[in-house]
Amino acid sequence: MIEAKNVSKRYGETLVVDGVTLRLPVGGITSIIGPNGAGKSTLLSMMSRVMPMSSGNVLVDGLDVTTTPGDTLAKRLAILRQDNHLTARLTVRELVAFGRYPHTQGRPTAQDREHVERAIEHMGLSALADRFLDEMSGGQRQRAFVAMVLCQDTDHVLLDEPLNGLDLKHAVSMMKRLRHAADTLGKSFVLVLHDLNFASCYSDHIVAMRDGKVAFQGRPEDIMRSDVLRAIYELDISVQQIDGDWIATHYR
């Protein structure tokens, strides 16, 4: 379980994340939504110890992320940030194999290679496994990075805007794959999402942030309501139930 206690991030005078206390459910998909600058990505980065917090603490399965050794945490929690810049030329398989590093310290066994192949297959990249990342489209690259994080085989997987740069088909297939991984492998996913309807259709739990604070949280049907969405986005959004899903129509 991931637990944030009074977590804040301050840049000079501005509070980006303002005393967030949050207990994320175990298993399933939790989505963090909210307008730009709400502090979603910052919170995710602090929960995964990639960014130090100004105050407060975060526990992952009871381990404090600021004091627990990095290699211990790397076996429990994986994070993928938005921009992933590489200096070296890597193939998809080489990149995904990095996901085994916490378990092998760079000396993979046959079992690890199996893990790698499974992650590649899971993200639908088998045909591209030997391609260099800089010769692929942004969406394919994004899938390769997600495959690396899945290959890390942690209980908690944190993804910052995993749908960034994906077209409709691949966005849907990404969400389906994450849903599948959550249901069959028992992993807990925490996603920062911008698309309300993807959050609504695929999440078990939604956390809505605004001005550095958690404004609302609950099941999709609790969040996908005109009054709640207006408070989050300052926008009149009507919500319709279509085929059992709550869909926001915010285009006009």
Partner: protein
Amino acid sequence: MSASAPSVSPLRPLLGLGCVAVAFMALFMLVDVSGPWDFVLPFRGKKVATALLVGYAVAVSTVLFQTVTGNRVLTPAIMGFDYLYVLIQTCLVFFLGSTTVAGLDPRVLFGAEVIIMVAFSAMLHGWLFGMARGNVHLLLLTGVVMGVLFRSLSSFVQRVIEPNEFIFLQDRFFASFNDPEHELLLLSAALTLGVSVLGLRLLRACDVLVLGREAAINLGVDYPRTVSWVLALVAILVAVSTALVGPVTFLGLLVANLAYAVMRTYKHAFVIPAAALIAAIALVAGQLILERVFRLDTNPRVIIEFVGGAVFIAMLMRKATR
């Protein structure tokens, strides 16, 4: 650029490079001997040893530095490392006088200089990690400013120094491959060996650093610790190469990028030996051509720096147009 994976084992190009390096070394040792062998061989052997050591130090320090900074256009020189060494030497001569400096035990002197350089890198790095939270760009910017400072300070001191002392200094910095001090060479070799043994343990963590800071932290690498270790090793290696032959700015850039191109892998276990071999080839072959073909007894550094500088500009232009 081919789209297929590097199916050839990286060992093969490495072996090829090794053969070329050995061939050049043999050629250098054996060609055109016109004197007693027991004089020529040790005399030339010392030159080859210097070239190997300098090549290794420059190549390894550059590759590690580029990994840590995530940038393949940079060399440790940009952090002001080599000019710090020049500044230390200049200040020594200025304050103590050339006779005192020349009288000092070179091992003690060199040891002290290495310690100062590592302390500098640790200080710069520790201070910046506190301030900039591991922001490598800020680290580099500070390095550039420091480099200019060291360079200007040393040239200022060199200007006000007595002419005789200046000549003594110049002699030190432009110590070529022709007359390396025997003891310095041994000490450098020992130091480089020590650094390499320490560095072996960081090799796999360095592979992960290629993914960038956040991904490295995610994969459980102790990022600040690894980076400070790597920077300390880089400082020692730069001290070794600068002590032996003076600042060599572009050789590292040249050999590191050639090594990436030849090896086509991110793995340091392959890239580092390749870069070191390429550097050895460049230095030995350069010296050979200069001595035997052009009959000029100058320093091959000049030519390597010229070629390296041209490559540097080409790389910058390519990045700019991309």
